[in-house]
């Protein structure tokens, strides 16, 4: 298949306001390179020359400079050089010591053709892989005409190690290839489907893996990518149509993200835009994760299985039911099951002993449960128990600061957190900062002066009240404050013991800082 519009240069940089939680600022781009960091800034290059810059990975602007024009570049940082490849007449490479155009070290050198087209390969869409095992530099390239090919480059110059050597053919019926190494496997990610047709573009990224850098790259069903195989990594989802051009952004500590463009962002008029999303790993295969979306959630510790809550007295959902009297008292001996407990006490099942005769049905007309032989304390109260009214139960909460802790999740108001993006407060690769408040209130999770957690009565926008929420490669989440008072340390929400939470240095080998963010 040929994508004739592939060669149409996309010269306009779109200035778009974010409507959801995709990236912010000027994010119009097509065929983006790998996102790379240089002197604390993020850079990405696209088709047509130039590229985008971001201070935080969230808000982007134009201004990156890449000479040569052409399409679909890639960039890699090796030693003191940034090597850039792009497709003009064949694939070119060149290098510069910095991507910062204000630096005297900026300036691309040694523009060299390293791969050319022939009947069996359209030499476009280059992508680098630096083998972490032996330090060899590889470049894959190609499109729908013929094969995806692989050649070895000199990591110092970006030139071919063997200019007259025969490239390896590694895949077919795809384009925009990229490679990465993970846990002993080489992964080839390539874009299938059609590009450049707006919301009718079928772009999707697929993956195969091999034990050798040269392949064969088999998908999850054992189909070789050189015969068209490929396990889906990411396809169209929601209002983001046609993801293509994978690029790995490894932030360390077990946080991996990937860049891509969507052929059409329906919230941005169907423009082609950049995005950054988490990479997940499941059973040896990468999958596209999701950036945090706003909503109301339970925040559960992976370490403990207990959930973050305000340290206030909880009220059982549905209220405390009256109990049969009998027994109890100081030193008293109670009867066995069925004898009842003192009024106001709970039973072992987490509920209370119900009043009423066993064997009946509920009278509320709701989705009650016909009482079987058990009945009694297990029969419920009949009807649908409505969600807890936070306005009602919070009247008994302290008015000022409240401590945090972890507890068994019981669907109570002090355990439900609203996660909301905060505009104009910056962000991090893929997402803006969020505020985390008790749903239905303005009580905000924050960091105290002594670097402990506290819930403030109201959100006021301070950096100690803003949270970076990122999906880790296992699908769990890391939650970090934007800043910690009186500290320069990057700390993360951390379970300590079974029932308390604090802040701690993120340890990728531990469950202490891993959280499940789930619908309540």
């Amino acid at each position: 298949m040929i994508n004739p519009m592939k060669f149409v240069l996309l010269t306009a940089i779109l200035t778009l306001a974010s409507s959801a939680y995709a990236l912010d600022g000027q994010i119009g781009i097509h065929d983006p390179s790998t996102v790379i960091q240089c002197d604390g800034k993020f850079y990405v290059f696209g088709t047509g020359g130039g590229g985008l810059i971001s201070d935080d990975g969230w808000t982007w602007r134009g201004g990156a400079v890449r000479p040569g024009g052409g399409v679909a570049p890639d960039v890699i940082h090796i030693g003191d050089r940034y090597i850039v490849a792009y497709a003009g007449t064949g694939v070119h490479t060149m290098w510069t010591k910095t991507l910062d155009t204000n630096s005297p070290d900026f300036g691309f050198k040694d523009d060299t053709v390293v791969a050319t087209s022939d009947l069996d390969c359209n030499a476009i869409d280059p992508a680098f892989l630096l083998d972490p095992g032996d330090g060899k530099l590889w470049m894959s390239y190609g499109s729908y005409i013929g094969f995806i090919r692989l050649v070895q480059l000199d990591p110092k110059t970006g030139k071919r190690v063997d200019p007259n050597g025969t490239p390896y053919n590694i895949a077919v019926n795809c384009e925009a290839s990229a490679m990465m190494f993970h846990d002993g496997w080489y992964y080839l990610l390539a874009t299938h489907g059609s590009c450049c047709r707006g919301s009718d573009s079928g772009y999707n990224i697929r993956v195969g893996r091999a034990t050798a850098v040269t392949g064969p790259f088999l998908d999850n069903m054992g189909v070789d990518m050189i015969e068209g195989g490929g396990k889906l990594f990411v396809g169209s989802n929601g209002r983001d149509i046609g993801p293509g051009h994978f690029g790995l952004l490894d932030l360390g500590d077990g946080v991996q993200k990937f860049s891509c463009h969507y052929e059409a962002d329906l919230d941005r008029g169907g423009a082609s835009v950049l995005d950054l999303r988490p990479v997940l790993w499941k059973d040896g295969w990468p999958e596209a994760g999701e950036n945090m979306k706003g909503g109301t959630y339970e925040i559960q510790s992976v370490r403990t299985g207990t959930s973050l809550e305000l340290a206030v007295e909880g009220v059982p959902v549905g209220g405390r039911r009256p109990l049969r009297g009998g027994g109890g008292g100081f030193g008293g001996r109670r009867g066995g099951p069925g004898a009842g407990v003192a009024a106001g006490e709970t039973n072992a099942a987490g509920g209370q002993i119900a009043v009423g005769e066993p064997g009946g049905t509920n009278a509320a007309g709701g989705r009650g449960v016909r009482r079987g032989g058990g009945g009694g304390m297990f029969a419920g109260q009949g009807g649908v128990i409505p969600p807890q009214d936070v306005a009602q139960v919070s009247t008994n909460w302290p008015a000022g600061n409240v401590d945090l802790r972890l507890a068994n999740y019981l669907c109570q108001a002090q355990q439900k957190w609203a996660i909301t993006a905060v505009t104009n407060s910056g962000g991090y690769p893929g997402s803006p900062y969020f505020k985390i408040t008790i749903a239905g209130t303005d009580r905000a999770l924050a960091v105290s002066e002594d670097a402990e957690l506290v819930a403030l009565p109201a959100f006021s926008g301070g950096p100690e009240q803003l949270w970076r929420i990122e999906q880790l490669t296992d699908g769990t989440w890391r939650i970090m404050p934007k800043s910690v008072p009186n500290s320069k340390d990057a700390l993360a929400l951390s379970a300590i013991g079974s029932s308390f939470a604090t802040l701690g240095k993120f340890d990728p080998t531990s469950d202490m800082q891993r959280w499940l963010i789930r619908a309540p």
Partner: protein, 232 residues
């Protein structure tokens, strides 16, 4: 101990409870031991256990209270039961009067990570349902220790003070779990530090455990424990 299990236990005979909990000593046993796990201290000081647990305490006979929820327990521990409730450093055999009942402090060393209060009250023939235990120990530090945390577990609820400051509370019908509750960072003084707790039991088994964790969440072991040798 959760209540349903407590009901089941309490419906059983003392013999059944003895089987379930492995209680060796019947009521009226020697004051030198309380069940199979607690003994009267035989040395002036004691090192923490291998995992840093504080294994020497002096414990007051139980006081009747009601309610295991956060608000109920907080109200219970803030009730003034006897003079010097938050300051006294008792000695073994000291007595206080709560209401019209005379209660006795009992010094114990535990063989385990936890202090089995059920063993204690069973040996003393005291109640264990809807009761509050006050307990004190002295932690002696060779140097000031910053950014340590008190890590506790209890069956059921408990509230803890370090040198007079309330530092942690856990509430509700719960079982003892090591490091269930962990305080915010605190500083232990060089020399003696008074650790005080109040453990509420709603019914059934009851125990607690405590240790200090350092800034790396490792148990603090370079401590010694003593009782009643200061403050009197």
């Amino acid at each position: 101990m959760n209540t349903l299990r407590a009901i089941l236990l309490q419906a059983s005979s003392v013999l059944a409870a003895t089987v379930l909990f492995g209680i060796a000593a019947p009521p009226g046993a020697s004051a030198q031991s309380y069940g199979s796990t607690l003994t009267q201290p035989a040395s002036p000081t004691k090192a923490p256990g291998p995992d840093g647990f504080l294994q020497r305490w002096i414990i007051l006979d139980p006081i009747h209270v009601n309610g295991v929820t956060q608000n109920a327990v907080q109200a219970a521990v803030k009730t003034n039961y006897f003079p010097g409730q938050f300051t006294v450093i008792p000695r073994d055999g000291d007595k206080v009067t709560v209401g019209d009942v005379e209660l006795i402090w009992h010094a114990v060393d535990t063989k385990n990570y936890n202090v089995n209060l059920y063993h204690l009250v069973h040996a003393l023939n005291k109640p264990f349902t809807n009761v509050l235990f006050w307990a004190v120990t002295i932690v002696n530090c060779p140097e000031e220790m910053r950014d340590v945390r008190l890590a506790i577990g209890s069956n059921d609820a408990s509230v803890w003070w370090v040198n007079g400051q309330e530092v942690i509370g856990i509430y509700g019908d719960r079982q003892t779990v090591i490091d269930d509750g962990v305080s915010k960072k605190l500083t232990l003084n060089k020399g003696p530090n008074v650790i005080r707790c109040a453990v509420h039991n709603q019914g059934g088994a009851t125990d607690f455990c405590a240790r200090f964790l350092d800034a790396q969440n490792k148990p603090v072991k370079n401590l010694s424990l003593s009782l009643g040798d200061i403050g009197k």
